[in-house]
């Protein structure tokens, strides 16, 4: 394997390449995309050499484009990810979703004692600076990317 990122076109004509996923996180991102039912071909590259992060993962999904909610989910799980839309063996568009200050009705608070788990409460998670970039609006529990769960 060479140390350069594979050209998307070497893999597919049309689809989506998600680049710069943290090492060994691609399976989690893939699971979140819920592609199984669609039956799309998927290629996963784990631990590819990266100049910036030493090792990174990539996902290639044939003949598929994410909607805006899915784009947001990708960046919540993989903060450095870029989403590349592929057409005619070329990168047509690079998407880098911006994080909102509050993510509403998308993420579950991982704190089992939180009020959101015992009562019908709109889910709200704040995005903050620092090592633990998520904070539940209600219980103020702070957590990291690897504890992210979606509704």
């Amino acid at each position: 394997m060479t140390s350069t990122t594979p050209k998307s076109g070497q893999i597919m004509e049309t689809g989506t390449m998600i680049d710069h996923i943290a090492f060994w996180q691609a399976p989690k991102v893939l699971e979140t995309l819920k592609l199984q039912a669609l039956g799309k071909p998927v290629a996963m590259l784990l631990g590819h050499p990266s100049s910036r992060y030493q090792k990174k993962d990539l996902l290639f999904i044939d003949n598929w484009e994410p909607d805006s909610v899915t784009e947001l989910k990708v960046v919540l799980l993989a903060p450095y990810a870029t989403i590349n839309l592929i057409r005619d063996f070329q990168i047509e568009k690079k998407i880098k979703p911006q994080l909102p200050d509050i993510v509403e009705e998308l993420m579950l608070c991982p704190n089992p004692r939180c009020i959101t788990h015992s009562e019908e409460v709109p889910h709200k998670i704040r995005t903050v600076e620092g090592r633990l970039p998520f904070e539940c609006y209600y219980c103020e529990f702070r957590y990291s990317h690897d504890q992210v769960k979606f509704l």
């Binding site: 004692r113 939180c114 009020i115 620092g130 090592r131 609006y137 219980c139 702070r142």
Partner: protein, 307 residues
């Protein structure tokens, strides 16, 4: 006269809602309110979903002292909550005839949710393991009263710094005031979580981690003791090993500052020996008595009428 702090504060849910100006305003009111009837004609709902006799009586006393009336419940036995009524619906019920709601709830975040649905001010009297802001305000009141200031202090926080919510809130509040230095005294497995450390350091508070209380006792102005719960320790042998380090006895208080005061959120187990009670450094019972005044000040700030 209404202060600007009063105008911007609608609920008291978390210490993170409070600025330094709010804290100063509340402590100032705590000192100046005696038995002024600023809650005359007002009804305050005390909704206590779990028993906490001390906090409940402290709030009730504060409300009566200011001339207000109380309704609600202490413990959920015999209430519609037992029949499965949601917190949302209970809040909607009580806001009809209460001017404010004081809420104690076993779930983390319950007070923020209550504040979002309530049309009247909500005061958090403890939401699970998350926040208990009036406890922190009474801690600050004790520090202010004994030291005359909230700046330039050396404060030891001792015991369970990982799970103890009082330590988390108090350290955050002290970081709003300049030149405070915190000595974080705990066993390695109960250290203050890293994100908390980062938050304090961002505000320029100096921190020192230490494992033994005796190493810092002679330096500090305030020694804030907390309980180490055995079930929190990963290793039972470690509990036996560390509990001695964090047990304060009168004979440990030889080479200390004259102005040293020992605080504790109470109840204590055995981390402060009873012989400490008779030293001039013990201040935990006076600290607890300040709870009524701190709660009077919060009630007055949020819903008190002009005199």
């Amino acid at each position: 006269m209404m202060s600007t702090a009063a105008k911007t504060l609608r609920h008291l849910v978390s210490m993170s809602d409070l600025t330094r100006e709010h804290i100063e305003e509340i402590l100032h009111r705590a000192e100046s309110l005696s038995s002024q009837p600023t809650l005359e004609g007002k009804q305050i709902a005390l909704l206590f979903y779990e028993n906490s006799t001390r906090t409940y009586s402290s709030f009730r006393t504060a409300i009566h002292r200011l001339g207000g009336l109380t309704c609600g419940f202490a413990g959920t036995a015999g209430t519609s909550v037992l029949k499965g009524e949601s917190l949302h619906d209970t809040i909607k019920m009580f806001e009809e005839y209460a001017d404010a709601i004081v809420l104690r709830h076993p779930r983390d975040g319950a007070s923020r949710w209550a504040a979002d649905v309530s049309s009247v001010p909500v005061i958090n009297a403890g939401d699970g393991q998350n926040q208990h802001p009036t406890q922190t305000l009474l801690d600050l009141l004790a520090i202010k009263r004994t030291q005359g200031r909230l700046t330039g202090l050396k404060v030891a926080m001792v015991g369970d710094l990982k799970y103890g919510r009082t330590v988390r809130s108090l350290s955050q509040a002290l970081s709003l005031f300049e030149d405070n230095e915190l000595f974080l005294v705990s066993p390695p497995s109960l250290r203050l979580p890293l994100d908390q450390v980062e938050r304090l350091q961002e505000r320029g508070t100096r921190l020192q981690h230490c494992q033994r209380l005796e190493d810092v006792l002679s330096e500090v102005d305030i020694c804030y003791m907390t309980r180490i719960q055995q079930e929190r320790m990963e290793d039972p042998d470690e509990y036996e090993r560390v509990r001695g380090f964090y047990r304060l006895r009168a004979k440990d208080l030889v080479d200390v500052k004259d102005n040293l005061k020992i605080l504790h959120p109470l109840p204590r187990v055995d981390e402060i020996a009873h012989d400490v009670d008779r030293t001039p450094y013990a201040h935990y019972f006076e600290q607890a008595k300040g709870g009524v005044e701190a709660r009077c000040a919060v009630l007055d700030l949020l819903i008190g009428g002009p005199l």
